[in-house]
Structures are given as C-alpha cells and as structure tokens.
C-alpha cells in the first residue's frame, strides 16, 4: 500500500493504465511540457512521448473531437479539460458527437474515452474555475459521470473509466486534490472500482445522507459533530453519478426513513433533485419526513470570499438540516 493524495492517486492510475495498454493516450492543454496545470501528468511526456502525451492547442472542440475519432478507431484517449469549466467550449462534441456515437452507429462503434479535469469551488476560483456542472451531462444518454471523494476511489475509478467502453466524464475536485490523503493498492493488485457503485463511508441510524465529491467530507464533518447530540448520520458517497446506484440508497432509506441529499452544485435541476424524485416515487411509504436537500444557491460562484461562502454549502448548513430532519 502507498499513501497518496487524491491527485497522486489519479496520476498513478493514468500512468499504470498507459503502461498496461499502449492504446491509452492523453491529450490536453499544457499536459506535456508543463506536466499539467495541477501537475497531474508530471513526467508523462518523458516516459510516453509526444504521440501519447499531446500538447493540444486551446481548442476544446478539437481536443474532444480528436478523442472521439481516435476512440472510434479503438484507442483509449483520456482528454483533459484544464478546468472542467472549459468543457462548455467543446460541449457539442460531448453531447452530440460523443454521447450519440454508439447509438447512431447502430451499436457497431463504441467510444472508450475519458474526459477528465478539475472541478469545484472553495478555492477562490470565481466563475470559471469553480463550476460543478455535472448535471448537464447527467441529463444526456450515452455518457457516464464520475466524481470520487477519496484517493482509493479516484484510483480505482479512473482505471475503470479508462477500461470502460463508453465516454466517461471524470470530475476531480480541485479542493480535494492535495488536501485528502489515503492509501491505494500496489499496481500489481490491478485494483478496479466498478462504475455505478456507491459506498457507505459512514454507517448510521437516523438519517441517510446521499452525497458526492467534496461534500462527502463536509458530510462526514457534520456527522462527527452531530454524534455528540445523539444524531447518527449514514453517509453514502455515490462515487459514480451516472449511472446512479439507487439500490444502496434505497437500502439505507428503508433503515432510516429520513433523507438528506447534499450536492455542491446549484440546487435547481441538480443531480440531487433526480435522486429526491426517485426516492419519493419508489420509497414513498418508507418516508418519515420530507426529503431534504442542501446545495449551492442558484447562483454562480463569486470571487469575493464572503460571496463565495454565501453561495456554496457549508458544514453548518448540513448540520442544521440534519438537526431539523432528526427532530421532525
């Protein structure tokens, strides 16, 4: 076992997959010479060469399109968005070209590609370096969406994402990159975490908390605080957002009858809204309280600190909501 940060876990997965499978290659801005804006691909160019570590121009459309064409031909490209926010510049290639490819080829062509990049706030990144817009892609058939919260999950899920035969969007939370440490197995263990499997990071009795990304850590903090009040939270880390592992969620709701969904993205139309709807639809008779959500306000992520704090969810928000639920 090796102790790594979340970022190092991702790097390890990328490296090991590139070693394992010559079809894997990387393409993105500043990933070769610079080693990536956050250093994820540090050392890759020297090891794997310019054909497999491509320093692309500022052309998200081209970066994603190249990944599409290469994937159609059987390669396993991993395209980096320097900040996931910039994926909007190549949005058409994601939703109209990549997502639809298999469907409109009569099931004959698969696109085993990954689009990865840093997302999320709490770093003063302002409007365009803080977004969590996984909901855009959650809504599109043909795509898969992943956001790990812990190094071991990031490691195992990145390997699975590269080996999956569908376009996978891999959101890496920049706030967690170097703050979260954990252990990962050795490369020889060939460790994979299947996509579409949630994980109960903290078992509990009273409230089911469904969350992902940085919010998992916030929820765990809240759970720790509420322990002394006799309120026990069960924190479920979804890990994969699409496809959703509702079975794990349902099992927990049957135990607690109270649900709190926490997501960093704006409240309206977020992933949590869909989860709430499904629980209400399938487990209505198991509910002892309304389904509650904690999310960012319906705004953009502003630059000034008091503004960012106001918009984004906090541990206190989770504590307050959980208390309300517990006492309902």
């Amino acid at each position: 076992m090796r102790e790594v940060t979340l970022l190092e876990a991702i790097r390890a997965a990328l490296w090991e997959e590139m070693e394992r499978d010559p079809n894997v290659f990387l393409i993105g801005e500043d990933i070769g010479r610079l080693g990536g804006a956050f250093g994820v691909t540090h050392g890759f160019l020297e090891r794997f060469g310019a054909d497999r570590v491509v320093d692309a121009p500022i052309s998200e459309t081209a970066i994603i399109g190249v990944a599409v064409g290469a994937a159609a031909m059987g390669k396993r490209p991993v395209a980096e968005m320097q900040f996931m926010d910039f994926i909007s510049c190549g949005f058409d290639q994601v939703v109209n070209v990549a997502a639809t490819y298999r469907y409109r080829s009569g099931g004959t062509v698969s696109l085993p590609m990954v689009i990865r990049g840093p997302s999320g706030g709490y770093v003063g990144g302002s409007l365009y370096h803080s977004q969590q817009f996984e909901a855009w892609f959650f809504h599109v058939p043909g795509l898969k969406v992943v956001q790990p919260a812990f190094p071991d999950d990031a490691y195992g899920l990145m390997k699975a994402a590269i080996r999956d035969n569908n376009p996978v969007l891999f959101f890496e939370h920049k706030y967690l990159y170097r703050r979260i440490k954990g252990t990962i197995p050795q490369p020889s263990d060939d460790f994979i975490i299947p996509l579409g499997e949630a994980r109960i990071r903290r078992p509990g009795q009273h409230i089911t908390v469904v969350t992902y990304g940085a919010m998992v850590h916030f929820a765990l903090d809240a759970a720790h605080q509420l322990e002394s009040e006799g309120i026990s939270l069960e924190v479920i880390d979804l890990r994969t957002i699409k496809p959703l592992d509702m079975e794990t969620v349902y099992n927990s709701v049957r135990k607690t009858s109270k649900v709190l969904i926490v997501y960093e993205a704006p409240l309206t139309g977020g992933v949590g809204a869909e989860i709430a709807a499904r629980i209400a639809e399938h487990l209505f008779e198991w509910l002892d309280a309304p389904i509650m959500r904690v999310a960012a306000k319906d705004s953009f992520v502003p630059f000034a600190e008091p503004l960012e704090k106001f918009v984004l969810p906090s541990v206190d928000d989770i504590v307050l909501a959980a208390r309300q639920l517990a006492h309902y």
Partner: protein, 346 residues
C-alpha cells in the same frame, strides 16, 4: 455572384494515368450519382418515401466521383449530406444506403439516425452528425489513431460545404491538423449557397481555399464541374498527405442546382436569380464529361448511354429492397446507448 474558378495552380496531370476502363467507370459513377438523386426526389414526390429530407446534389457529381476515385480501401472518408453516392463508392451497398434513407431496421444505423449520418469504419467511412464542422476534429482523431498504429500513408478525406468553414469546429480541426501535420484532405464543395445564404455572406476571402493561408497549408481551387480537374487536384492533395506533409484544402467550385432540400425547391428559385441557375445548368458536369470522352475519339456513343441501364436497375432494386425491409421495433429505440461489454460498470 463571383465566378471563383481559379486556374492559377499548375496541377500535375494525374488524369493521364487513368485507363480507358477508369474513364468509363468514372462516367458510370457520375450517372449513378445523378440517377440516385433523381430517384429519391421522385420517391418523395410520389409519396413512396414519406419521412426525412432529400438533400439534392444534382450538378455536384463531378466532385463526388473525382474526389473519391483515387482513394484506397485503407483511406477514410467523412462525407456530408450531399455526398450520398460516396458511401456506395467507398464500399457500402446501394441497398444499405436506401435502407438508411427509409429508416429501416436493417439500415446501418438501425433506424436511429437519418440520411448521411451513418458510417462503417471497416470500410473507412466515418459517421457524422448535423453539427457542421464537427467532423473535422473527429477526422483528426481518426488520423491520430492511424498515426499511433503506424499507418502513416492512409489519408482522411473530409467533405464540407463552404458555409461550414465558418464554424469554430472547422477552425479548431484545421488548426490542429495543420499543427500536427495530419493527413487530412478537406474537400470544400463550394456550391455557392448554404441554404439561402450566398457564399459572400459566409466566407470573407475571395476563394474559400484562401483560408488555407491561415493554417500554412496548400489550398487549391478548381472547377468543380470538371471531373478530371477535380481528380487532378485531389491526387495532388493525397500525395501531399501521404508524404507526411500535412493537410490540404481542395475547393471545388460548383453550383447547387436544386434547393437546399426537397422542401426548398420552390423558394430556391426565388432567393436566387433564375438566370444564375440556368447558367449553371449549362455547365452540367455530365454532358460536359460525355462530350469530352467523345472528343477523345476513344469511345463510341453506344458505350456512353444516358443513363447506363445497369445503374438505373441497381438503384431501383435498392429502393424496392428498402421499401420492403422491416421497420425497427419500437423498443429498440432504447438500445445501443451504452456498451457494457467491458464489464467494469454496474
């Protein structure tokens, strides 16, 4: 409307390599393209084809045949909606193409997408979408894969209308291809109109091929209604690409004799001057090529029927086959969204 035909480039006469059989095959293919087009319009009018637009390419046969003729089975094409015959020239059966048009269960896309939004990578045909220009980055990806596999003498021939060169995707794709010297040949079918928009409202340069300057690559502009001139320019571009010198733009200047699609026939004669249409009808590539062949003295009239009956028969057979093919089952609308064969996902 400016006459854009530029004859300044000195093109090598690759046409001199063509045999008598080649010349006849080119003739046959041009007629295939013509009859294909006319048949579909007829099917639409008679109500035997009820769903989906027919995008005519009458008058653009020289481009379709001249550009695709030099390609090898190991080359790739990315055709657009006015290049339907190219699917057949590259190896799809006429029956398959008709099943696609009729949206049948045995179509290449199984009824999921329409018209030219289909492909077959084994035949070297890349699938496309309605997002004009988006095919260029994808073509770059195909070329990249070929490079990684060491198949460096395969080329990727990508087709676009002149209007699509205004898109961001076009720019990013061409920029990328030029930077990395990818073997991309961009055939710009400049038929003067993007729907109702004339080319001077789409392209600010005198010739569309002038855009090549921005990428530091060669740009040829040829008479798109002269099949052999198209052939020469294409061969030059292919040679350039196979030698590893990077992409080229080949602008074929022609004219869209019909409307943007079959629903546009009446208005296309309103937003364009009738004299303009009539002038270009006189430049029809088919009689022009036939006259040329006869002028060589190598062919007799009887060898050049108008149309060749086997072409008509093949197309009619394909139409009937498609019409009598089964419709897709409704539940198949939910199939082929994901590929779970890797076994790494729940």
């Amino acid at each position: 409307m400016r006459n854009r035909i530029g004859a300044e480039q000195k093109l090598e006469r690759y046409r001199d390599q063509l045999t008598r059989e080649d010349l006849l095959e080119i003739y046959r293919r041009m007629w295939f393209a013509r009859v294909f087009d006319e048949t579909l319009y007829d099917m639409k009018k008679k109500g035997r084809l009820r769903r989906g637009n027919v995008y005519g390419s009458r008058g653009q046969e020289a481009i379709q045949v001249g550009t695709s003729y030099p390609l090898r089975p190991t080359d790739f094409v990315s055709p657009i909606h006015r290049d339907m015959p190219i699917f057949v020239f590259k190896g799809m059966s006429t029956r398959q193409v008709m099943c696609q048009i009729w949206g049948k269960a045995n179509a290449p896309t199984r009824g999921k997408d329409s018209w030219s939004h289909m492909g077959d990578l084994k035949l070297g045909i890349i699938h496309s979408t309605s997002m004009l220009g988006s095919t260029i980055p994808v073509a770059c990806g195909v070329a990249w894969a070929l490079r990684l596999e060491g198949k460096t003498d395969s080329v990727v021939m990508t087709y676009l209308g002149e209007g699509a060169t205004a898109t961001g995707a076009f720019h990013e794709g061409m920029n990328y291809a030029a930077v990395h010297k990818l073997p991309i040949i961009l055939i710009v079918e400049n038929n003067q109109y993007a729907y109702s928009t004339p080319v001077e409202l789409e392209v600010p340069t005198p010739r569309v091929a002038d855009r090549a300057l921005g990428y530091g690559i060669p740009g040829y502009a040829v008479d798109g209604n002269d099949v052999l001139e198209v052939y020469d320019a294409t061969c030059a571009a292919i040679e350039h690409a196979r030698a590893g010198r990077g992409p080229c733009i080949v602008e074929c200047v022609t004219y869209r004799l019909q409307g943007h699609a079959d629903h546009d026939e009446t208005r296309a004669r309103q937003y364009r001057p009738v004299e303009e249409i009539e002038m270009w009808e006189k430049r029809d590539p088919l009689p022009r090529y036939r006259e040329y062949l006869l002028s060589t003295g190598l062919f007799s009239e009887t060898e050049l029927p108008t149309p060749p009956p086997e072409v008509v028969a093949e197309i009619q057979d394909a139409v009937e086959y498609a019409i009598h093919s089964p419709d897709p089952e409704p539940h198949t609308a939910l199939e082929d969204i994901y590929d779970e064969s890797a076994g790494v996902s729940r």
